[in-house]
Amino acid sequence: MELRRIASAQLRPLLLLLVAAAIVGAAWALIVPAWQAPDEHSHFGYAQTLAEQGAPPASEGDRRYSTEQEQAAAAIGSDQLAANLFARPEWSEAEYERWRRLQAAEGEAARADGDGAGPEGSNSARTNPPLYYAFEAIPYHAASGTDLFGRLHLMRLWSALLLLVAAAATWALVGELLGPRRGLQLAGAAVVALQPMAVFVSASINPDAMLIPAFATTLWLGVRVIRRGLTVGNGVALCAAAAVAILAKATGYALLPGVFLALAIGAYRAAGGLRIGSLVKRSALPLLALAVPVGAWLAYARLSDRPAVNQVGVGGGGDFDHAGLFSYLWQFYLPQAPGQLPLPPGYPSLPARDFWIEGFWGKFGWLEIVWPDPLYLAVGLLTAAAIVGAAVALVRSGLRRHAAEAVFLVVVALSLLGGLHLTEYRILADQNTVFNQGRYLLPLLPLLAAAMAATLSLAKERIQQVLVGALVGFLFVLQVVSLAIVGARFYA
């Protein structure tokens, strides 16, 4: 009883934060018009096909999306609205009633005739693994008695819950890294729970919503395995979290180098030295927890003749141009140097700022809704301060003592970042188009949150308290401003 009381008191800050975050998530789910989040039409189409037909979207068929989805999208003006600041969603009650009569006349068959591909092409999300969409099939079926908008919005609300899991895992991650310091844990969890882009993406239908908690959980468990040594329990949990990420989106593969590193270090520490037999024995079950579900998906994909990941060719007819890659990376983060070929038209002047700061923190709708510039400057400075501060905190706390955890976290970050750059460079070489989006970096948000908490830990207690409160206040204001801007863009 006493233990429960203590646990309850210790978790109270987190629980209150999660309730606040749930309200914010509900606001996002209900303010953004249907399909006005990136690729939401593709993801809804995938989820509906899976829920109605029991299989992911096909590569060949008669209709890319269901009749029901196409009619609803036309009624609300979804396609013309996407990224078009001239357009507004349909405001006419008469048009809404017209759509209701139309969908009532169509009946339930109109839900199930979208097979993933039609004359206009296939569903762009069809190469994604099915886990997130299966997760979304739960609210889809739960709301099967309602119209499409009833199901879509319940799916959004359900998806928004995933960010609460990410916030809780970040709370645990900061606790594992910095010790049980509730103020710092709350700061870290709040960064995840209230970061505007993370809430916007999580409260839409998008598998990125599942990646954030999967990465947060993997980061927490990876640090735990390294610190406490590998056990069957924490190893299986770590690998299962990584498997969830991989089965949500191929981006999850970026966790593998870090997970293998954590298992190796954890096994080494648990065995008290380098013993191959012990390493194999301790890692066997955890690796099975990873290999079985991922292997099952790969086998299914192969048997059903579908790509298990998005296919990206190698530019230049198979020859990898290392100088070109260097030039691309340089210009992503720095101004173009003399003699370098410029990036294709469509790239912003400094992609790192546009994608990794502005797109990561807050660009909404189909990225056409932006903040006033000073807010981007503020979050950019905050991000830079967190990265520098975390490095200082690491050095101060003893670099050698915490090298293993630091290397693990850096490996995860660089694997994701490197994977995104390599993919973009290949697409650039093949198709000359932009690939990266700020939201692709959201899986690293828990890491940024931990870095902010570590930075705050450098301050003396009173200053620390002030900074934690100011950080949470700033995140709250960002939420209010973002929701107001989004509401004005669509409805004023």
Binding site: L30, G77, Q80, R88, S92, A94, D147, A190, V477, V481
Partner: protein
């Protein structure tokens, strides 16, 4: 000392909300509704005396003016006579005139002689009342399904860029309207009340919860003991 986090939270939150409210109160907008057509091409070329109509248009909100984008081939723009009509009978509902002399690729507005009520279908017709040809900007007819641009009754395969306007009002005073519009195409049980409730929760309950969270964290917080983790 523990309440420092709560105090700084409240200071930042209140200051931020004041700035945000001031911005919303000072942001005046006059859009009644729009067809949402991006001005990407010449959707209708009007020789002197010719008339283009965009029809039928469902009037989502009452309006008393229309804004369009006009190309003048680098000369002074011709006067344009604008009339709002019933699509079936052609009976005029409202009319207005844009005087000549506007610049090339500009967005002149016409003030109508009466307000056009919501919840009806209309045709917006623009006649070149000058001596030089002009081009009305718009997009392909897929830009807004169910309506199209016509000249002399012939479908042009395009949509005109038209923005329907009304007297400007601040964003803050449009809150009720914004919530009504937002509640369309939602679950059937959602009405404007849900947005009022969410706004209340967002502006009162969320900061209260966050302040409570900070207070609880402060009451329980303690740096790690020496020798434990950093």
């Amino acid at each position: 000392m523990r309440s420092w986090a709560v105090r700084s939270f409240l200071a930042v939150a209140v200051a931020g909300l004041i700035v945000a409210f001031a911005a919303v109160a000072g942001d005046n907008r006059n859009t009644a509704f729009t067809l949402g057509v991006t001005p990407g091409l010449s959707a209708a070329e009007l020789r002197p005396g010719a008339e283009a109509c965009q029809t039928p248009i469902a009037v989502a909100e009452a309006f008393d003016g229309v804004r369009m984008q006009v190309g003048t081939y680098k000369r002074q723009g011709s006067p344009l006579a604008v009339s709002i009509r019933r699509p079936d009978s052609g009976r005029a509902i409202a009319a207005g005139r844009i005087p000549g002399g506007y610049a090339d690729v500009s967005q002149p507005e016409v003030q109508l002689d009466s307000t056009v009520a919501a919840s009806q279908r209309v045709a917006v017709c623009i006649r070149n009342a000058g001596r030089r040809k002009v081009a009305l900007y718009g997009g392909s007819e897929l830009a807004h399904i169910g309506t199209s641009a016509e000249i002399g009754g012939r479908d042009q395969g395009t949509d005109l860029t038209l923005v329907f306007i009304r007297p400007p009002t601040s964003l803050l005073s449009q809150t009720s309207e914004i919530f009504e519009r937002a509640s369309l195409f939602r679950p059937v049980w959602i009405g404007p009340w849900a947005y009022w409730l969410l706004a209340g929760l967002l502006l009162v309950a969320v900061p209260a919860l966050l302040a409570g969270s900070l207070r609880a964290a402060g009451a329980d917080d303690s740096p790690p003991q020496s020798g434990s983790q950093p």
